[in-house]
């Protein structure tokens, strides 16, 4: 069996192999599209609460919530199946993509609160613009987060 001491390029080879593994973590097109749909459903929550639940059965919001939860479960499963690598996007272990993760949480709460505020004051168009911008921001931040995870995989995640 080959021995690392006789092969001075062993560590360099390991770096190349990690780089190959990180390259597999490229998300497929449907992953980003599905994420955009999931965030759109979540950001539609304040509109549903304001306009659909007055005297209307609660089924639209229930269906919306169920769809978002299904996507939340299905998307990581699909990504794992497509790439062969399991990573937890919401795990704080990946430091390189951590600012993007924090920004995602901040955008989530800030956009939801802003939407609610604008809808209450009758500024529907402004609320729709905020929701659309929030969805775009979340998808961009998700890509930044995934790029950070890829960099971490390439760097070895702390193990040299």
């Amino acid at each position: 069996m080959p021995d690392v001491v006789r092969d001075p390029a062993a560590l360099e080879r390991l770096r190349v192999q990690r780089s190959r593994l990180a390259d597999r973590m490229e998300p497929p097109w449907w992953y980003l599209t599905g994420s955009a749909v999931m965030w759109a459903v979540l950001f539609a929550g304040p509109f549903i609460l304001q306009y659909l639940l007055h005297g209307v059965p609660t089924w639209p919001s229930l269906i919306g919530t169920a769809a978002a939860l299904c996507l939340l479960r299905l998307l990581p499963w699909g990504l794992t199946r497509a790439t062969g690598i399991t990573v937890r996007l919401w795990n704080l272990r990946y430091r390189l993509g951590l600012p993007a993760l924090i920004a995602m949480i901040v955008v989530w709460f800030a956009a939801s609160e802003t939407e609610t505020f604008l809808i209450r004051h009758g500024l529907l168009a402004a609320a729709i613009v905020v929701a659309a911008l929030a969805v775009a921001a979340q998808v961009t931040l998700l890509q930044v987060r995934l790029r950070g995870i890829r960099q971490e995989l390439r760097a070895g995640g702390g193990a040299a």
């Binding site: 069996m1 080959p2 021995d3 690392v4 001491v5 092969d7 001075p8 062993a10 560590l11 080879r13 390991l14 192999q17 990690r18 190959r20 593994l21 990180a22 597999r24 794992t80 199946r81 790439t83 062969g84 690598i85 399991t86 990573v87 937890r88 272990r93 990946y94 995870i149 971490e152 995989l153 390439r154 070895g156 995640g157 702390g158 193990a159 040299a160």
Partner: protein, 126 residues
């Protein structure tokens, strides 16, 4: 790296080092095909080495299926991670020592070519 540099003869062979190094890269679980492609080894080599690593307690193996296709997933155990970190630290020390010695050799060669002795460090006045 903060791990104590310590060679581990079990993960010393390149294939095992590659498998453990890839599993330590940061993923929770890595699927058989992804690990095989990244390491650039054959199915049989990965099967054989993963069994050895599992028996040694360095790697955890999970078997499942996607539809009718069987799938195997690997993860590094805490014991495997400790061993790998120590071994990589030891390898990094070796690499550093090798590059330092090659630097010394090249310095001596340059000095002898110029026909003079390599300059010694000047002692401080105090």
């Amino acid at each position: 790296m903060t791990a104590k540099a310590k060679p581990d003869p079990f993960i010393h062979p390149i294939t095992r080092l590659s498998i453990c190094g890839l599993l330590a890269a940061g993923a929770d679980w890595v699927e058989f095909a992804a690990l095989r492609d990244a390491a650039g080894i054959s199915d049989s080599v990965l099967s054989k080495q993963s069994v050895a690593l599992e028996d040694a307690g360095y790697v955890q193996v999970r078997k499942g299926a996607v539809g009718r296709r069987p799938r195997t997933w690997f993860r590094l155990t805490a014991q495997g991670r400790r061993a790998l970190e120590g071994h990589l630290a030891w390898l990094a020390q070796l690499e550093e020592a090798a590059s330092a010695s090659s630097r010394d050799v090249s310095q001596v060669t340059v000095s002898s070519v110029n026909g003079r002795v390599a300059p010694r460090p000047v002692p401080s006045p105090d």
